[in-house]
């Protein structure tokens, strides 16, 4: 079949050339301030940073859920890191990871240095995580959304209610086992009496 030509997207020579270009861009685009910040994080937390990954010019640190608050607080307050803005806090579901199938990712931005960092942690189902609304108030909606979409509980969150879906919605829609068409049939059930 002619389409077989396209199943493997590019010939080996072309793909290696592309890979070279990508890695070259990755190597150059990691800002010196971010390298300093990463060194500082490594010095402070050492083996507590379970994994460090650099891809597409972005730096990712994987940490244990127990260190979530401590690492993020350090990221915000240390002057060499100075991540004063939480760009996005989000959940993810990876069913292939048997014991810790859920992930929470925080994308941090620094207005002082202009660099970005991703901090990631893997959790068991519903596995509680401390809230970071005390560090960045903007995490409030993000954590509510992560809770309603994945069922990840954020301890001490000031207002952990459903955000985007209806009050009486059942299930956690962004989990991979949740069907695209939903599970409540064709009727939207809303009974909001006494709930707001």
């Amino acid at each position: 079949m002619s389409s077989a030509r396209f199943v493997r997207p590019s010939p080996p020579a072309g793909s290696s050339a592309k890979k070279d270009r990508t890695t070259a861009r990755t190597a150059t685009s990691l800002a010196p301030t971010l390298a300093t910040a990463a060194a500082k994080l490594r010095r402070r937390f050492g083996a507590r940073l379970l994994e460090e990954k650099e891809s597409f010019g972005e730096l990712t640190f994987v940490i244990a859920p127990g260190d979530w608050m401590r690492v993020l607080a350090f990221c915000k307050t240390a002057p060499d890191l100075a991540f004063d803005q939480l760009d996005c806090l989000m959940g993810d579901h990876l069913p292939e990871r048997a014991d810790t199938p859920f992930a929470v990712l925080a994308h941090l931005t620094s207005h002082v240095h202009g660099h970005r960092l991703r901090v990631k942690t893997f959790l068991a189902e519903g596995g509680p995580l401390p809230t970071v609304t005390g560090l960045w108030p903007s995490a409030g909606f993000d954590e509510r959304e992560t809770w309603e979409m994945f069922g990840i509980v954020f301890q001490d969150h000031p207002d952990l209610r459903r955000l985007l879906t209806a009050e009486d919605f059942r299930g956690f829609p962004l989990r991979k086992d949740f069907p695209l068409e939903g599970n409540v049939g064709g009727r939207v059930r809303t009974d909001l009496r006494g709930k707001i």
């Binding site: 597409f56 993810d92 579901h93 994308h107 962004l174």
Partner: protein, 432 residues
């Protein structure tokens, strides 16, 4: 609306309102102090009335509910309730190929649909390593700035309408038509364009577009001067907007409020300059910054941005390079439609891209761009293949709606209308 007073009077009044030795550009401490002065913190021992503003209130521009606790007319507490327009875009994205996601992004922020397409395509191209040809980058810049113009003109009309005038709204809508006509010529659609493609744009510039676009960007700065003549020195607008809704740069960082609201707080943060994409590093423009962090300065920032947008479009039209408008990348991007009917390889590529989809490598990327409302980030995690495993749209309105309590507690209800309009929330963008 012809209640205009000259700028000297306004500047004199502005000087009166602060002490004479205050420098013209307030710093964060001064703003914080001014914010404390303009907000009323009443004792909450009295009668608190709880009312629901929205979800169908005209000033919410959609379905945004604010549950207000009021002491007289002063807002003691505010709880934003969103989600009435939730369509599950992120879930839908996991079941579609990268090409099929582009029309979904139109519906996020329908006032600046191209900016949303552009943001998703930038992230997907970063993931797949697709090089965008120069002509496509320039066309994208033109379309992005046109969408910024359309968005800001609409914002202006609606903002002024919320503050009590109807005529100006119609004036703005008339001028927005010129921009939408350009979009119609360029993409065939007026609101939901789906014009960006992975690796470029859907079509080349049509015949006659350049002349017409030049006419519009010659004409719009005159209209912007007219808007300023009507609004900027208007006594009613000045009183409604000056020193209302002060939000310092620290507050903006904490609540992730970006875009014109951040720039009105004196921060020259613009991803078009800081993390350039498309052709923004090849054109010359200034980041619009104001320093008073109130509703009035957000208006001034948007007026400046519209002028800069016209400048960017003019430079792009002047320096528009030739060449293809879509990347020649058989694995990731669609072929040029004209070739599909003539060339068998292009036809195979078309079938492959439509039925199989682009083959992305494993990995995760986060790409943020500056859309008219603020910073929009797109996170994509791919496990290989044609469909993403997780997509997250970090849309500005989501956070701007969340910041409403911090923006407006201590202000009065009429000011709340001005503040809500000034941060520019679109509910399609907010509810995803």
């Amino acid at each position: 609306m012809n209640d205009a007073i000259d700028s000297a009077t306004i500047h004199a009044r502005e000087a009166d309102s602060t002490s004479p030795d205050t420098p013209p550009r307030p710093n964060v401490e001064q703003l914080r102090e001014r914010k404390a002065r303009t907000r009323q913190h009443l004792e909450t021992g009295g009668d608190i009335m709880t009312i629901s503003m929205g979800p169908q209130h005209p000033s919410t521009h959609g379905v945004f509910q604010m549950v207000l606790d009021l002491d007289g007319e002063v807002i003691v507490d505010l709880r934003p309730e969103i989600g009435n327009l939730h369509r599950g875009v992120e879930k839908l994205c996991e079941h579609r190929t990268y090409h099929q996601i582009i029309p979904l992004t139109d519906r996020l922020d329908y006032n600046s649909a191209f900016a949303m397409n552009h943001g998703f395509c930038e992230a997907a191209e970063k993931l797949m390593g697709v090089e965008v040809p120069p002509r496509a980058r320039y066309i994208r810049t033109i379309a992005h700035e046109l969408s910024r113009l359309a968005n800001h003109i609409l914002w202006l009309g609606v903002h002024i309408m919320d503050l009590g005038t109807q005529t100006f709204f119609v004036i703005c809508f008339r001028d927005r038509e010129y921009v939408l006509d350009l979009f119609e010529m360029l993409t065939g659609a007026r609101l939901t364009h789906s014009f960006a493609r992975i690796g470029g744009v859907a079509k080349d510039l049509p015949d006659g577009f350049e002349q017409r676009c030049r006419k519009v960007i010659e004409f719009l700065p005159k209209r912007i001067a007219e808007y300023e003549r009507i609004v900027k020195h208007n006594r009613i607008y000045y009183k409604r907007a000056k020193n209302v809704g002060i939000f310092t740069s620290e507050d903006c960082y904490a609540w992730r409020v970006t875009g014109p609201t951040l720039r009105a707080a004196g921060v020259a943060r613009d991803l078009r300059k800081d993390e350039p994409y498309a052709a923004y590093d090849e054109v010359d423009f200034e980041v619009a910054v104001e320093y008073n962090a109130d509703v009035y300065d957000r208006f001034l920032v948007r007026m400046k941005e519209m002028r800069e947008s016209c400048k960017i479009i003019r430079q792009c039209l002047d320096g528009l390079p030739g060449g293809p408008y879509l990347a020649r990348d058989a694995a990731h991007s669609l072929p040029v439609k004209r070739d599909v009917l003539r060339d068998s390889a292009a036809m195979i590529q078309d079938f492959y891209q439509v039925f199989q989809g682009p083959q992305a490598p494993k990995g995760e990327v986060y790409r943020a761009i500056e859309v008219p409302k603020g910073e929009m980030g797109v996170y994509i995690r791919s496990e290989g293949g044609a469909k993403p495993a997780r997509v997250r749209f970090t849309t500005p309105s989501f956070y701007h709606g969340q910041a409403m309590p911090a923006l407006s507690i201590g202000e009065t209800v009429p000011d709340l209308v001005a503040i809500f309009a000034s941060v520019d929330v679109v509910l399609g963008d907010c509810d995803k």
